[in-house]
Symmetry: C2
């Protein structure tokens, strides 16, 4: 496994692979790798000749009051996990390499970024699209692997790729969960034992919503109220949003249908947690 720190070296390795006709798969991460990342990497490995993972805690996607400084950075553990999963290349640039002094460019996607997480994290998606766009130019992958847990991020990146004609195919991989249902996230580390017990109620409320919808309650307002009540009764968390939206446009729907995305963000103690499901019928 190669650990590549510079853009120029990564680009020449990608050039070489492309010249040899070896399909490149790419898993962008912020490190603190867990089984969710592992699922992305395994699919990437299976579907490509060259499997590239980037580890970059992207300062542009954190707000000034967010957790950039304390975001976990377990370098050695990450490298070991990647090696064990037979990643071919870790692209591991410094902040200076990716966002040097005098950096003046941004990529923006409108509309899709306005609601949900975008409403509570102004500038977040601009940071995501700017850096993911740059990573695509550096790694030049044939396939990009993203986790369904970040549903809005998936929609935003897909839109950017379509609009800007990045020559890459996007693959969305299902959310990986703990045995009790909590979606894996690097931010779960922030939780105390009690908060960890409460955190499972994100997924429980989503599952309960699915059953509730199955019983014929298809008004978004009603379903959201139902979920809020469950969270209020079972956690001390602060609900940032619960949204019933079209999974491509992220526009709210009043009536829930097959394919509707139900997404949520809840602050539990020091951790801002997100989760979502797609309504199946």
């Amino acid at each position: 496994m190669k650990i590549v720190k510079t853009i120029s070296r990564m680009q020449s390795l990608s050039d070489e692979a492309r010249r040899q006709g070896r399909p490149i798969g790419f898993v962008p991460t912020m490190g603190a790798l867990h089984d969710g990342h592992r699922a992305l990497i395994r699919t990437c490995r299976r579907e490509n000749k060259l499997c590239v993972t980037s580890i970059f805690v992207n300062p542009l996607q954190f707000g000034p009051d967010e957790d950039f400084a304390r975001y976990p950075r377990p370098e050695k553990k990450d490298v070991l996990l990647a090696k064990k999963e037979k990643v071919d290349i870790i692209f591991y640039p410094s902040v200076k390499e990716m966002v040097p002094t005098g950096f003046l460019t941004t990529i923006d996607v409108t509309t899709i970024t306005a609601g949900l997480c975008g409403r509570f994290r102004p500038g977040h998606f601009r940071g995501v699209t700017t850096v993911v766009g740059k990573l695509l130019n550096i790694v030049q992958p044939h396939r990009l692997y993203l986790g369904q847990k970040d549903a809005q991020q998936c929609a935003v990146i897909r839109q950017m790729i379509r609009d800007m004609a990045f020559p890459v195919h996007v693959r969305i991989i299902p959310t990986v969960r703990e045995s009790d249902g909590l979606a894996l996230s690097s931010r779960n580390k922030y939780l105390s034992r009690e908060q960890r017990r409460e955190a499972v109620w994100l997924y429980r409320s989503l599952q309960a919503a699915r059953r509730y919808i199955g019983q014929g309650h298809r008004q978004s307002r009603e379903v959201k109220r139902f979920m809020r009540r469950l969270l209020r009764e079972n956690t001390k968390g602060r609900v940032e949003y619960i949204a019933c939206v079209d999974p491509k446009t992220m526009q709210a729907v009043t009536h829930i249908q097959k394919g509707t995305l139900i997404a949520m963000a809840v602050q539990i103690g020091p951790a801002r947690l997100i989760d979502n499901i797609i309504v199946r019928s």
Copy 2:
């Protein structure tokens, strides 16, 4: 020569050339090709195995009161010229192909775009960078050819390419001029015979400024005043701006040095004309 209308076809031709290790050169244009474009194409041909020219009158880079509708589109003549110059591929997409309904993404470069043309054409450079970024993803060139006449555009695109790590080398080609010095431009077609006579004063005032600077007048304010007087005395044109700037950052300098860019925009009748020189000593 191939004429390619779709993004997917262009991308597969570029993929093929890259797999074969054939260097791709790219000349983006808005058509109405003239000897300025010809100079770009000839250098591109000489330096690459595959020479790609795009013809796309980019609606995103025109303001609502600008000349998008009347911009010349001599399709047959353009195709003939390209053929004669041995262009391998003309990428000739429709507006719908490049900017379909539901297009939501922009690329922005700050600071460099604020002054000069950016001040008088709000949104212009956002339109340029968004579409040039997209064209780079489609054509995937090794080398990009731009004309020095659009000095600010060159600086903005260079900055975008550096910031976003587009894997392409930028080549800037000197401005091509009529025998009397007028910089070639598709917009020269808008000029009446009298306006055409006046238009030469853009370059004459730049040359006069060069001599004036050579005589020791190095204060930007003094040189700009000198140029304005020449233009006022010899044309009925309206000076939009005359600027003495650093050619990379487009930031104004008070004292003119070797390498300073003197750039100007003048409205002469229906034509907004631009020109510039770099101070040589």
